[in-house]
């Protein structure tokens, strides 16, 4: 077992991030684990950051890089909103993120999913992975935990879900990824953006569904010994 932990290593967000469009807006979802090597630096981080009133971004990869990029884009979008006289569109936000990601690709390591609602195009999701490509998709997944979700989305995703269906779908997906990916964990946060505004939701671990062979939350694993089953561990 590796007891040598570099606690001063740069913070990386193992992460599972998801963005999904539904009939009327978008739902963004993320886990909450920020790791420094094997150590969990923050088990309740908020990876869904606000860029404008109607556009949010899910961050993955290096925590510092993604924060700096979001900060710059928030600043540019603020100026743009003042000049334009109305809210910026999600396409403009995504393009600004893309320009920073692409032009600094040698120095940055961050994958982002931009999601927002504007009155011209409705709800839109844009994925901006590592190299700085910009791609508009009906749904997008990112982060280390997303590897385990490609098959799930291929099978279970459908166009035009309702708001509640979409949110439950996102929560289910993030919890599946958390179950399988060691670098994702903690709680599930979601943000729903539509014409009426923005709603933030929070799902602590005990509210999430348990998957295959996962144990119920216990006060102590010793309780299992006194339970009905005499052989808690099956080899």
């Amino acid at each position: 077992m590796d007891l040598e932990m570099n606690l001063n290593a740069s913070h990386s967000m193992g992460t599972t991030i998801i963005g999904v469009t539904y009939n009327g807006g978008v739902v963004l979802g993320a886990d909450s684990r920020t790791s420094t090597g094997m150590y969990v630096a923050n088990r309740a981080s908020d990876k869904i950051t606000q860029l404008t009133d109607n556009v949010y971004v899910c961050r993955s990869g290096s925590a510092a890089d993604s924060q700096i990029v979001s900060d710059y884009v928030r600043y540019f979008l603020h100026q743009h909103t003042i000049q334009l006289g109305q809210s910026a569109t999600s396409k403009v936000a995504a393009n600004l993120i893309r320009l920073l990601s692409y032009n600094n690709k040698n120095m940055l390591e961050t994958g982002l999913i931009v999601g927002g609602w504007d009155k011209y195009e409705g709800g839109k999701i844009y994925a901006i992975p590592l190299g700085g490509t910009l791609i508009e998709q009906p749904f997008a997944i990112g982060g280390s935990g997303s590897s385990y979700l490609y098959g799930f989305f291929d099978q279970a995703w459908k166009e035009g879900m309702t708001k509640d269906e979409a949110e439950q779908f996102v929560v289910k997906a993030v919890s599946l990824a958390i179950a399988r990916d060691g670098a994702s964990g903690g709680v599930v946060r979601t943000v729903i953006i539509n014409s009426e505004g923005v709603t933030r939701n929070f799902y602590p671990s005990d509210k999430l569904q348990l998957w295959h062979e996962e144990l119920e939350p216990q006060n102590s694993l010793l309780d299992l010994l006194n339970s009905s089953s005499p052989e808690p561990m099956n080899i």
């Binding site: 569109t89 600004l96 320009l99 011209y120």
Partner: protein, 196 residues
């Protein structure tokens, strides 16, 4: 009507005692003495028309264009000094393409008009520059529909349903006011503009 500035009109950086900048007014005179240019906003787009002044019989038709495109969705018609107009169009083109590269969408017409207006105004602030001797009618179609702006040599810009500059602007404006623009399509608008 020639107003004598008596010494307050030698530089664009001098105000007269009654609060006017004569150089800018003289620039507007250059526009007023040129061929008429009109623009109207129809239901589904903008129609612009220019009075074609044939300076010489030897000139080829189709040369000396005074209606120029700025971007895929916008264009300008120029009245006044044609060379000055070319500069303004070049600047507008560059603003439009740089906006598109940075923000990923075509420049909103309002934004373009503001940028052109502030560029024209810039040249009224320094003594080593002279004001542009041309008025520009800017038309474009963005997400909020068709829009028409006019930029004068002083740098002010307003949004219009119908605008006219040049020699016959008074007559043209009277004609435009008679039209029912909110119900007209561009096809019908072209015919009306040609008649003027």
């Amino acid at each position: 009507m020639s107003s004598i500035g008596t010494g307050y009109d030698l530089s664009v950086t001098t105000f007269s005692p009654d609060g006017r900048v004569f150089q800018i007014e003289y620039a507007s005179k250059a526009v007023d003495n040129s061929g008429t240019v009109i623009g109207i906003k129809c239901k589904d787009g903008i129609v612009m028309g220019v009075e074609k002044l044939i300076a010489s019989k030897m000139m080829l038709p189709g040369s000396n264009r005074r209606i120029l495109s700025v971007h895929r969705h916008s264009g300008m018609a120029v009245a006044g000094l044609a060379a000055d107009g070319r500069q303004i169009v070049a600047r507008a083109k560059s603003e439009a393409t740089s906006y598109q590269s940075v923000y990923g969408e075509p420049i909103p017409v309002k934004e373009l008009a503001e940028r052109v207006a502030s560029y024209v105004h810039l040249c009224t602030l320094y003594w080593w520059l002279r004001p542009f001797g041309c008025g520009v009618i800017l038309g474009g179609y963005d997400r909020d529909g068709p829009q028409l702006y006019m930029v004068e040599p002083s740098g002010i810009s307003y949004r219009y349903f119908g605008a006219a500059v040049g020699k016959g602007k008074q007559a043209a404006k009277t004609e435009i006011e008679k039209l029912k623009l909110s119900e007209m399509t561009c096809r019908e608008g072209v015919i009306e503009v040609a008649k003027m």
